[in-house]
Symmetry: C2
């Protein structure tokens, strides 16, 4: 089935399935079921079966899913059976935490270039990398054929940096700046703003 | 309309509207429309009107929304017309970035207690706060009547800390640990895992 025909909301659940399966495998499990996965994730087993059926036949009624096989298939579908080079822009507290986070590589991503506009930061080390001038984004991203970026800049800088990333050929941006950015069709943006999540919860509190 | 009758997906969009309206107000705008908001957010104007209509009449056909008024109403609905005290557990790179983040207070949240289990961190300062032992979570959270927590601990510690937070009376948890945690009914959990967002995008990349 061509990628474009699967609803994005379904695509959005696949990483959750992959994460849970990876954890099950790490704890020594070999077989699971849509029921077990569902309980773990708070998603109905019917939903999980329906989601997975969009991509093929991954289990048989009554025998469950082979975790290693389904993991491999999900990694292939999500294209994390490879490692994506990532450009990180903005080396404040958050950017530094992202750069140091060890949990990206074994899930498909590796930060290979870090940028900041602050002259005091440019040229300094962040882990194994050296902070480069944001004015060099287009050159560096093109030369290294980087397709994915993370944006940890202040709100007011987000659109300008986004424009530069798009010009450089970036097709996926994870935006930590608390704002919405405009991108041309074909460029994907996902947002992380903790306050949005917090407000969604305090709505329900007495 | 009672809170429980509004779909959570609608509740989830209100913080986005509030954020955009706040930015419009900061740039000096006084009036907006569902069209303008929609273009800014990539959400249809019909959806925005429908979402807001669940909570009352906030604008008149043809005259648009008064930004200050709608902002006040959304802050009241989302219960961020007050400031929530927040407990932060886990003072690694990410926890430290969260503790230092200046963008929480004017949107309704203030980190008032930080916890870690590492003896080398306990007793050390993080901004204006001092790291406390995670074993003191129940005492401190109860004494200070904290209702909201952020979890920035490693994956393997997430469930244990969650259990302690729930025991302490926490009703909303923002979980940065890359795993799913189990909570009793009535406790809300939202997750932030950047890899889930990244995988959702690389799915579409060539």
């Amino acid at each position: 089935m061509p990628a474009s025909s699967v609803p994005d909301i379904v695509v959005g659940r696949l990483p959750l399935y992959l994460r849970a399966l990876t954890q099950m495998a790490a704890s020594g499990k070999e077989i699971t079921s849509s029921q077990e996965l569902g309980e773990r994730l708070g998603i109905s087993s019917a939903q999980i079966r329906k989601d997975l059926s969009q991509f093929g036949e991954f289990g048989k009624q009554g025998t469950g899913y082979n975790i290693a096989y389904l993991t491999d298939q999900l990694r292939r579908i999500l294209k994390v059976d490879r490692i994506w080079d990532v450009a990180l822009v903005g080396i404040g507290d958050l950017g530094r935490a992202i750069a140091h986070y060890a949990g990206f590589v074994d899930r498909g991503y590796r930060v290979v270039a870090v940028f900041d506009s602050d002259p005091e930061k440019i040229g300094t080390p962040v882990g194994q990398l050296t902070v480069e001038d944001t004015r060099r984004i287009v050159d560096v991203v093109r030369a290294r054929r980087i397709a994915v970026a993370m944006l940890a800049v202040p709100r007011d800088a987000a659109q300008e940096v986004t424009d530069r990333l798009v010009e450089a050929g970036i097709h996926a941006i994870l935006c930590y700046a608390p704002t919405s950015v405009q991108v041309p069709k074909g460029v994907h943006v996902q947002y992380i703003d903790p306050v949005l999540h917090m407000q969604r919860m305090t709505y329900y509190l007495p």
